[in-house]
Symmetry: C2
Amino acid sequence: MALPRAHRLDLIKPFQVMELLGRARALEAQGRDIVHMEVGEPDFPTAEPVIEAGVQALRAGKTGYTTACGLPELREAIAGHYWRTSGVHIDPSRILVTPGASGALLLALALVANAGDGVLVPDPGYPCNRHFVQHLDARAVPLPATAEQRFQPQPTDLAAVWDDGCVAAMVASPANPTGTMLAPGQGAALHDWLAERDAALIVDEIYHGLVYGAAPPTVLTERDSVLVVNSFSKYFGMTGWRLGWLVVPDGMQQDAEKLAQNLYIAASTPAQHAALACFQEPALALFEERRQAFAQRRDYLLNAVREIGFRLPAEPEGAFYLYADSSSLAEDSHALCRDLLEQAGVAITPGLDFGTLGAAGHVRFAYTNSLERLQSGVERMADWLRG
Amino acid sequence: MALPRAHRLDLIKPFQVMELLGRARALEAQGRDIVHMEVGEPDFPTAEPVIEAGVQALRAGKTGYTTACGLPELREAIAGHYWRTSGVHIDPSRILVTPGASGALLLALALVANAGDGVLVPDPGYPCNRHFVQHLDARAVPLPATAEQRFQPQPTDLAAVWDDGCVAAMVASPANPTGTMLAPGQGAALHDWLAERDAALIVDEIYHGLVYGAAPPTVLTERDSVLVVNSFSKYFGMTGWRLGWLVVPDGMQQDAEKLAQNLYIAASTPAQHAALACFQEPALALFEERRQAFAQRRDYLLNAVREIGFRLPAEPEGAFYLYADSSSLAEDSHALCRDLLEQAGVAITPGLDFGTLGAAGHVRFAYTNSLERLQSGVERMADWLRG
């Protein structure tokens, strides 16, 4: 007698970073000081005005279900946000509030992909994308992304791996782990190539807003018929609340609502009420302050890791990550990460967690830690690399 | 050019009750008074001690991610709850805190079912179960449940619909829409029959605690190797917070954690902190008061709807529903529900929302409304039925 075990479980590799994090905690328990540059969560707590809105909602007893698509006033606030930041009109009916960007990815893929269908997923990329595809027993087709192309695909890159069973391609802008963005017109080109094949473009914009320099607007300014995933976790600093959204093309609203009703009923009600405060002035000013702090850390870290021997030919424009080429420092980035943790007390993430293409020659630095700690981390790495 | 559309969307029927609810709201907007007996959400707000714990957590800045399995202290509190209420020891490592029972169902099915595999789903039953199965492009195999068997299957019922491609059976105790429970030993018998076929038993216990009379304990007292879905929504009154849990058999923990990390990262952190208060005295006393209020409503409504001509051969033992045979009152329960809404101002749910077997001859009453309102609803129905 044995319990059944779904095949997808063999396809989902455990995150290397979880093992490293476990080891880091063990070292800390022994009294070692570890500089954390592996964490994909902003170090800023949820902004006070958002906390306060959450408290008010709880005290007012706003604890029942909302409709599956979310609070109408929140969907309107998100539409207003697109208008203010990108000058694009999105009908609120196309916006579904979801339990995290995870819920949005779950919906987006369930809308377009059957078991066996192919979905192009960037390599390197957010590893859960691949696993969401495999969750549906669909095929995650690696879409190679190299530094030469700024880790963002062109239509020719789609064409190189496309097969007749493919139904969609996922990209991210700004991307995890690379921090690069789609260039102006690039999203439109991808969309048009896919549309000719009756296939869907899914764009993960969960790091939107966390951009440093000239910020390209949402892909929705270029094409309307795109599925866009976004989140209150990163720019808006609401990770643990689990709130995100999905913008669907016109015509997909009813299907998306039906899936939402069945797959998760609705997103968290207190979180939705709290999120309303994200689009008002006191919170917006805080988010801008935090963005500037991230920008400062990025500028520091980008130069600093280059100085100690890492290479970054494609400068990151957003998110809070650097995806650095470590091949001139170590043959195997996974071993390098282990050594840096054990011997230098610095935790970073090996490329393996983001795919296979060039993974052994890359590491990801997250600047979700104070400038002082980042400086201390760089000094330790510099000392260690000097041997 | 057209966007791809997954086949599963054709399998998911919209809920009839949503259409009725929409019509009820339109009538209310016209000034009509409608008695709501269709809503599957307790009318009690979240208990004050739980709200207060949520507020404290927010004020303390507990807004970051927890680990994928949930707060260790909450998993321990849930284990303690099983010990106190059922005298069974569940290792906290087997308990995963999930984003609602929806998240638990998502995990449970993704653990055991591949595309094409069969999963037995009770008819009548919670409609989302069928859709969760179809979400994975697995086959939802209807498991007929009749009043003669108290709407709960025996091994012979599994055998009657089983095929070689089946990997699991889902049951619920107390069940939605019927309110009936597995009898002592019934869960064990189902488990043993399934185990001989290397198949899994998934038991939905989200209405556990909301039982009236001698309450059979969790199926975990009978067998250890069962996947049990539970929720903070019903007995604990936390619907909109979206929090539930899944108990997995020993040996499945790592797979379940891996899936959780990828599919939803973690359940809501403020909700988890608030839920800790559910297992402490002030809240527990409130839950017991509410259970007694539900018991009173159930006793009233059960007799009252029988007196006006509905039949309930299988008396419900839990949840907050009556699944009543309307066949001697109307040929088509869907038409009956529409007529009752339009002409009597009473909203109830047609059997169609819960399956097809006997659906045209059944309706579901929810007693999630005050005794006064239920009485008013019954009077209106009695008048209307007298013509």
